[in-house]
């Protein structure tokens, strides 16, 4: 119970986000109208993806410094769940774009960035699939994980800010504050980011436990 407090916290926060996000007052904005509520579900996916990938890179570095098999499993599982978040983020974004921008795929720099981030990690899974030696697989994929993530950083954080984008926080704007994110929405948005991330970490921890048990079964 004491160790699992963050799981309960994640569930409570998401309950609050779903109820509050769908029922509480949202600002009236042109074009966006009620779809602004998608912010609570679409943007946290993106944050979650980037955070989970970062943790994956952290474990990849940890694995290279000290080759424990645990760090490798964690790195892969964070990448797996990050990819799931990324796919959900793209799908929710396409749904939202369909109603506000007029079509699901707009070639917006951030959309392209997200698609490329997914490509990188899909390539990472392909790489893992094509090496048989377990130890070599772990090391090579950790190297690719770090290198590809670093190559992705300018793509996600720098280039969209240089180009015109229909996402807020681009074309010179620092980020969300310039957006019409008023205080009522912030009350739901920030908890939503934390809540979704906690759920992501929970899924990862379950998957890691499952993989470790599987490994133990194979060894015995």
């Amino acid at each position: 119970m004491k160790k699992n407090w963050w799981k309960y916290l994640g569930v409570v926060i998401l309950l609050y986000v779903h109820l509050g996000g769908l029922l509480l007052e949202a600002p009236r904005l042109n074009i966006l109208n009620e779809t602004v509520r998608a912010l609570y579900f679409h943007v946290p996916m993106w944050f979650g993806m980037v955070l989970l990938y970062m943790v994956s890179v952290y474990y990849a570095v940890k694995f290279l410094r000290n080759p424990l098999s645990d760090a490798d499993i964690k790195s892969v599982e964070y990448a797996h769940v990050g990819t799931a978040f990324g796919i959900l983020g793209i799908l929710t974004g396409m749904l939202w774009a369909n109603y506000t921008w007029g079509s699901p795929w707009h070639g917006d720099p951030k959309q392209n960035g997200a698609a490329i981030a997914l490509l990188v990690y899909l390539a990472y899974f392909v790489l893992r699939g094509s090496i048989e030696n377990e130890e070599q697989k772990a090391r090579l994929s950790a190297v690719y994980n770090i290198f590809a993530f670093a190559a992705m950083v300018p793509l996600i954080f720098i280039i969209p800010r240089l180009t015109d984008s229909m996402h807020p926080g681009n074309g010179g704007n620092p980020g969300f504050n310039a957006y019409d994110l008023d205080s009522r929405m912030r009350l739901i948005f920030y908890p939503a980011v934390i809540g979704w991330f906690l759920i992501g970490v929970w899924i990862v921890s379950l998957r890691v436990r499952y993989r470790l048990l599987q490994n133990r079964l194979i060894e015995n």
Binding site: L127, Q136, F147
Partner: protein
């Protein structure tokens, strides 16, 4: 050590003339296919299409020719290098050699494009400096990825799959500068992009230098 390794790369390359001829022919065929598919005898293409075609041709020929930097090498040779040289010296010599190769390839591509498809570039010095910078970025990324791919089973497909997402940011920057060079806009306008390209190159080279020892060990 790096110099010795570089010298070895050059001697090996010059000894196998068929490889150089193959790369040259690959570049020529790609350019020629562009020429034929767009029926350029009767039509002409606009500047944006020119830049897209040019970068596609350069991307494919560079990926294919730099892929061999580790993939083609024999197993026993790697063990020999492992004993005589440090991994840092090996990756640096590969990066320098590959950069030179990429520069030659992109300049040759530029000349071929000028001959067959036309040369709409108005700010030539800016464009050539972009070619030099992208060559460094391509070669440091591709040297490391070739090292990774050489250890796996289906190296050639893996090389393409692993390298394209990594190269996209370099390519995007290059295309933005190319657009400025095509319009003949002053150098000051592309200052940001050039700086960005240099920063990406630094990151890629530094990471290749740091990470290569880990893949070399296996």
């Amino acid at each position: 050590m790096i110099l010795t390794l570089l010298k070895k790369e050059f001697t090996l390359e010059l000894r196998k003339k068929s490889v150089i001829a193959g790369i040259g022919l690959y570049l020529f065929s790609l350019t020629f296919i562009c020429y034929i598919t767009f029926a350029l005898r009767h039509n002409s293409i606009n500047a944006a299409t020119w830049s897209a075609l040019f970068w596609l041709v350069i991307l494919f020929s560079v990926v294919n020719s730099l892929a061999k930097s580790f993939i083609g090498e024999k197993k026993g040779l790697a063990i020999y290098y492992y004993q005589v040289a440090s991994p840092q010296a090996i990756i640096l010599s590969k990066i320098i050699y590959n950069t030179l190769l990429a520069i030659v390839l992109s300049l040759a591509g530029f000349i071929l494009f000028s001959l067959l498809i036309g040369n709409p570039i108005q700010h030539a010095s800016l464009f050539v400096s972009t070619l030099l910078l992208t060559s460094l970025g391509f070669s440091s990324s591709l040297s490391l990825i070739s090292g990774i791919a050489s250890k796996a089973n289906n190296s050639n497909i893996l090389m393409a799959v692993l390298s394209f997402p990594v190269l996209i940011s370099i390519l995007l920057m290059a295309i933005r500068i190319t657009k400025n060079a095509l319009d003949g806009i002053d150098l000051a306008a592309s200052y940001d992009e050039l700086l960005n390209l240099m920063a990406i190159n630094c990151i890629a080279t530094a990471l290749a230098y740091l990470l290569f020892p880990y893949i070399w060990r296996s």
